[in-house]
């Protein structure tokens, strides 16, 4: 075969392939314009009404309607050359389902043959013989686009394909836009919820601090009391030490007259007779050591309170649960001291988790406070333990108080649920604990026996693998 004929044949084959590619080009152009229509529209109805113009560039038709479908009726949303169509009609998606046998895009070559829908459409469009029906399904609505033509069998498989792909794109784009809007709305709600929780957390913290104030004051008062006492005592010792030192200086000063030096010696002798100087020296060391210890206790309590009362930040850091438990005990220790016996069985290694230290401290404090309040008898015990289970660290706080009614266990973490008397509890403490635990990808387990004990176990994902697990 001559080369030129081979080339002719190749050109023909390429033409065949080009025609198919052109179909995609037409479709792509439609998609582009459809996208513009969606992005420039505020409402779904507005979007669809622009489609007639867009569709006309891909498919030839004489008239069109866009319907919103309910089960048993439709509403016309947009129309083009369809003056006789009613605003609403008693034809719906149920009847369409039967008519289209489950298909989404159907080229109807003779409208009168279309069951149920055909006759009414023909009466509203008397001059229309053929139609292209395209069903559109979005997240929660169903629409029907009908393109009509005065020609017999104006639409074929290629029109079906264009309409189907275009509408499929439109539906998925609209769904994406709807999803985006929903996502933004949910983000906004989430942020609002976070702000409210933050505010509640702060309020709850302040409420806890209020309840703790007496205990904390007592805790501060003790060291401050003996600090004052020690300082007073040391002040007395210091005046004796000063007299001793002054007289020693006079005795040792050769420039002084004999009379002055003798009087100084006499005073020294009298001081030694009157005061037990050796004891004073020894006691001074103890006073200073005790005072330092008291000052450190005060500093620790103040630091814990500051850390606890500081407004929450977004700072996520490595938190040692054991250290956080100890810090909380420092704050609440005053409450416990005379009311219950505290037992600690903390894991020997630090239990590092990722989180917000003050929020974790808040959880421990709330549960410890509840435990304290649950103990009404005089043999109260609070047992705090920690450990590791698989990839989680846990802290358990168990009291031998009044326990929890079985019916209340499932409601413990509901906001505003409280069994305390009015004014005694906000009902938000455990709800906030639950929320904080969720934010830390953790969870709380509650075990209780009424009149016997309650055990709250808090699980946190470990920040890294533990070398030693219990």
């Amino acid at each position: 075969m001559p080369t030129v004929e081979k080339l002719r044949e190749k050109v023909l084959e390429l033409t065949f392939e080009r025609d198919n590619a052109l179909l995609h080009v037409r479709l792509n152009q439609l998609l582009q314009k459809g996208l513009d229509a969606i992005l420039s529209s505020d409402t779904l109805e507005d979007t669809f009404s622009k489609f007639f113009g867009v569709m006309a560039e891909g498919i030839q038709f004489d008239c069109a309607v866009l319907l919103r479908l309910e089960a048993e009726h439709f509403t016309v949303l947009a129309r083009q050359k369809a003056p006789d169509w009613p605003e609403q009609g008693e034809l719906g998606s149920d009847a369409l389902q039967t008519a289209l046998s489950g298909r989404h895009s159907v080229a109807v070559f003779n409208l009168l043959l279309l069951p149920i829908w055909g006759e009414p459409i023909s009466s509203w469009w008397p001059a229309i013989h053929s139609a292209l029906l395209q069903r559109i399904q979005t997240r929660d609505q169903q629409f029907l686009l009908i393109l009509g033509s005065g020609s017999v069998a104006a639409f074929g498989p290629s029109e079906e394909k264009i309409a189907s792909q275009f509408i499929s794109f439109v539906a998925s784009t609209i769904a994406s836009v709807e999803n985006r809007k929903l996502y933004m709305a949910s983000q906004s709600l989430k942020e609002r919820q976070q702000r409210i929780e933050q505010s509640l957390l702060q309020s709850e913290k302040m409420a806890s601090l209020g309840q703790l104030a007496a205990g904390v004051a007592h805790e501060l008062n003790n060291p401050i009391g003996f600090l004052l006492s020690n300082i007073h005592m040391f002040q007395t010792y210091l005046s004796i030490f000063k007299s001793l030192l002054t007289n020693y200086q006079l005795v040792a000063d050769s420039g002084q007259s004999d009379e002055v030096r003798l009087r100084a010696q006499k005073e020294l002798d009298e001081l030694y007779q009157k005061e037990d100087v050796a004891f004073l020296l020894e006691d001074s060391d103890m006073l200073i050591a005790d005072s330092l210890e008291g000052a450190i206790r005060v500093r620790d309590i103040v630091q814990s309170l500051r850390r606890f009362s500081h407004p929450d930040t977004d700072k996520i850091e490595l938190v040692d649960l054991n250290e956080s438990v100890e810090s909380t005990i420092k704050i609440i220790g005053g409450e416990f001291k005379h009311a219950l016996y505290l037992k600690k069985y903390l894991h020997p290694s630090p239990l590092f988790v990722m989180g917000k230290s003050n929020q974790i401290g808040q959880v421990f404090l709330n549960i410890m406070m509840n435990a304290r309040q649950a103990i009404q008898h005089d043999h109260g015990e609070l047992q705090i333990s920690s450990g590791v289970r698989d990839s989680e660290a846990w802290v358990a706080i168990e009291d031998n108080g009044c326990g929890i009614e079985p019916a209340h266990i499932n409601r413990l973490f509901e906001p505003f649920f409280t069994t305390k008397d009015v004014g005694q509890g906000t009902g938000l403490g455990l709800s906030l604990c639950h929320s904080i635990m969720l934010q830390h990808s953790g969870h709380i387990e509650v075990q209780s026996s009424l009149g016997s004990f309650s055990r709250f176990t808090l699980y946190f994902p470990l920040a890294g693998p533990m070398e030693h697990q219990d």
Partner: protein
């Protein structure tokens, strides 16, 4: 689920044919079946419970036999089926006997019934397949377009025998006919691709049809058609016309706007009359420009494979489940000894997917100019993809 399977038999009794088919199809149920075979075998179908295998059938006689991916079966004793299982598709066929030569009426009846049986009497099918006796192709196409419009691709061919002696038959799943139009409407759930072309190229010999009536070509450039044709061939046609003219048919030149290259719709001269007129196997219109076409055996052998390549190229991911190919019976008669090459080419092109090649006397298809046409010496390929175009 979409699946295509083929099965073949060259048994000589109905019972043995049924056993062969059942064995190869493993007793499976299908929605639709194409059946083509030698005119000596197709009539045996009426004795077989074909409807137990598929609810809808279309078929007829094929020149010499058939070819499938399983082999070349041209020993005048074979029959093959191509079965479609498509759980989400819709298929149906129907037939009507041509009475009083009213082809339009028979076509209308068969088409309407097929649409109703498919449960979609209102919907344009994805593809229409037709099988009719030779000489009725244009009228069938015209009537289908009158009902469904010009946008639906119509493929098919005329039932054939081995020597144009009139032994051809048509089959609709229920009965064997000699003068019936059988029409199938297809709404497959997978993408389809189709291509209709020939294996011929034009020569420099051209003329205008100045007198013609239907399939009778009377004058070219105001001269007797036989004289002009003989002059173009530079020889006098003797007997056994079809063998002599198969490699030198006439082509109606169809100018198309979208491409500078014209299309050629071929007509095979089958009879030369003493009055200088030529009987063709396809209609020609007065005013049409005619061209002497030519081809060579290697080209006729390779063309089906290259057409399958082209058709497959536009399927989604170029994945093909199977296909049906119509090959001109006249072409077959001139190259029958080498048809193994055609099978090999198609097998390679379709990556071993199942296919059925049938040989007809008059082919119908959707030409590159987006028009349903009838021609002689044409090839038609319809391939089914594995997925829908949207997926």
């Amino acid at each position: 689920m979409f699946e295509i399977k083929t099965a073949q038999s060259n048994a000589c009794t109905a019972e043995a044919i049924w056993q062969d088919l059942q064995q190869q199809l493993a007793g499976q149920q299908f929605q639709f079946g194409f059946v083509m075979g030698h005119h000596s075998r197709v009539p045996l179908l009426r004795e077989l419970p074909m409807l137990s295998c598929a609810a809808h059938w279309i078929g007829g006689s094929s020149c010499l036999g058939v070819i499938t991916e399983q082999g070349v079966f041209l020993q005048q004793d074979s029959l093959a089926v191509m079965m479609i299982r498509d759980d989400e598709g819709h298929y149906a066929s129907a037939s009507a006997v041509i009475e009083n030569q009213d082809i339009a009426k028979a076509t209308q009846q068969a088409l309407t019934l097929a649409l109703q049986k498919a449960g979609r009497p209102y919907q344009v099918p994805e593809l229409v397949w037709c099988m009719q006796p030779p000489g009725t192709e244009e009228a069938v196409l015209r009537q289908i377009e009158k009902v469904l419009g010009k946008k639906v691709p119509v493929y098919g061919g005329s039932s054939a025998d081995d020597d144009v002696s009139g032994l051809w038959v048509q089959y609709d799943g229920y009965a064997i006919h000699q003068q019936a139009v059988v029409i199938a409407v297809l709404y497959p759930s997978v993408a389809i691709s189709h291509f209709f072309h020939s294996g011929y190229v034009p020569t420099q010999h051209k003329g205008i049809v100045t007198k013609a009536k239907g399939r009778l070509l009377q004058e070219i450039d105001d001269q007797p058609a036989v004289d002009v044709y003989s002059r173009w061939l530079n020889k006098k046609i003797s007997d056994n016309y079809m063998q002599e003219t198969t490699l030198t048919p006439l082509g109606s030149i169809i100018e198309q706007d979208q491409l500078d290259l014209p299309l050629y719709m071929l007509s095979l001269p089958v009879d030369f009359h003493d009055d200088g007129t030529i009987e063709l196997f396809a209609e020609v219109e007065q005013g049409t420009q005619l061209c002497l076409m030519t081809s060579e055996t290697p080209r006729l052998l390779s063309r089906t494979g290259t057409m399958c390549d082209c058709t497959r190229s536009i399927l989604p991911q170029q994945r093909v489940s199977g296909g049906i190919i119509i090959f001109c019976g006249a072409c077959l008669l001139s190259i029958k000894e080498q048809m193994g090459l055609v099978r090999d080419n198609v097998c390679t092109s379709l990556d071993g997917a199942p296919f059925l090649i049938a040989f007809t006397f008059g082919e119908q298809g959707y030409a590159v100019d987006h028009t349903n046409r009838h021609g002689n010496l044409m090839y038609a390929t319809v391939l089914f993809g594995e997925t829908d175009a949207d997926s």
